[in-house]
């Protein structure tokens, strides 16, 4: 089948304003949008810029708006998009070139919640043990690949980039509810700030957009609950 792919283009060295360029190419149903972009770049227009690395939904570098909805290009089949595809950069982050956005504000929020294990207690002789049930509590939020699909689908983040965003809350959740970690109070305090967790208005755009199917709004809800009750369960 022939597909038409309309791509957001912006070259900071030449263009004053962004524009759209349309490419037509042959594709099969099981092609992914990433394959189409590669084909365009390889055979039609070498100036097209986008990020990609693993091409298997693991690195999270090719998140973009496909037909108006945040997805990973490497996990989106032509079968699901139809023959006309519009590709735009993520919304709410600065566009550097074409489909490449500046991820720094996103990672800054990520770092702000201290996404690493904090535990000053003396190390046990062997490992820090954890039961399967304790592990299951935060299993969902360990799946995040930091693609930014969620944060850039969130109206609160669009409205103000100071909002810490769903991805950072997911990262915080992963450690707050980890029985081996001891800094839950510290992280909860950070998320209790003005631009923290209460900017979430349960729009569910993040949950819908997550390519890893993480129940993001649920994680945010659990963090809100922990803040309200002061208990981690």
């Amino acid at each position: 089948m022939e597909v038409t792919i309309k791509v957001f283009r912006y070259n900071p060295e030449k263009d004053k304003k962004p524009s759209y360029k349309t490419y037509k190419l042959e594709a099969i149903e099981t092609d992914r949008v990433l394959d189409l972009l590669e084909k365009v770049k390889g055979y039609q227009d070498g100036t097209l810029s986008f990020r990609r690395s693993c091409a298997h939904g693991i690195c999270g570098s090719d998140a973009m708006r496909i037909n108006g909805f945040n997805r990973l290009a490497c996990k989106t089949l032509v079968r699901d998009t139809g023959a006309t595809i519009i590709v735009q950069p993520l919304l709410g982050l600065r566009v550097i070139k074409d489909l490449i956005v500046d991820m720094e504000p996103f990672f800054e929020h990520y770092r702000s919640v201290k996404p690493w294990l904090i535990n000053d207690e003396p190390e046990p002789e062997k490992e820090r043990t954890q039961s399967a049930a304790q592990r299951a509590i935060f299993d969902d939020t360990t799946k995040c690949i930091l693609c930014a699909c969620c944060t850039t689908s969130c109206p609160s983040f669009w409205a103000n980039e100071q909002y810490v965003g769903p991805a950072a809350i997911v990262a915080a959740h992963r450690f707050i509810f980890d029985s081996r970690d001891k800094a839950a109070a510290e992280r909860l305090k950070i998320l209790n700030e003005v631009w923290g967790v209460y900017r979430c208005h349960t729009v569910f755009n993040c949950t819908m957009a997550c390519p890893r199917e993480i129940q993001i709004t649920k994680a945010i809800g659990e963090v809100k609950m922990a803040l309200t009750t002061g208990k981690l369960e």
Binding site: G68, L91, S153, P155, E161, V203, F204, M208, G221, M225
Partner: protein, 129 residues
């Protein structure tokens, strides 16, 4: 180098968030409508008691009393209430958030029959005079 960060209202509105995002928008629109409605209602009540403004007050009142307006404002009030309840329930029991899609279906299932009955009554009395 690069573009400025800029999320226009239209661009945001065009995001294909589907069902949940629609309820989010409807919640904002209905909330705003209710506030404007109540404010104007108080204003109209005040004005119609003043000799100098009574005709304006009566005019605002006549808008409210039109059945077409009632269809709109009843939609706002009912939707805002039911949607608000859904969010309150999900906020209080985060475990239920996993079933957020179902929650939205239930919301519409509760909303539609109530609204249809009200619609029926409003239109019948509106047309019947």
């Amino acid at each position: 180098m690069g573009l400025k960060r800029n999320v226009g209202l239209m661009e945001g509105l065009r995001y294909q968030g589907k069902g949940p995002m629609l309820t989010y928008y409807l919640h904002r629109i209905s909330g705003l409508s209710i506030v404007i409605f109540v404010a104007l209602h108080i204003l109209a009540g005040y004005l119609s008691n003043q000799a100098w403004g009574s005709s304006t007050g009566l005019f605002i009142n006549s808008i409210y009393e039109s059945w077409i307006f009632q269809i709109y404002i009843f939609f706002c009030a009912l939707f805002h209430a039911i949607n608000g309840l859904r969010i309150v329930i999900l906020d209080l029991w985060p475990k239920l958030i996993e079933y957020q899609r179902e929650a939205i279906w239930i919301e519409w299932l509760v909303f539609l029959p109530i609204y249809s009955i009200a619609l029926f009554v409003i239109i019948r009395s509106g047309l019947g005079g």
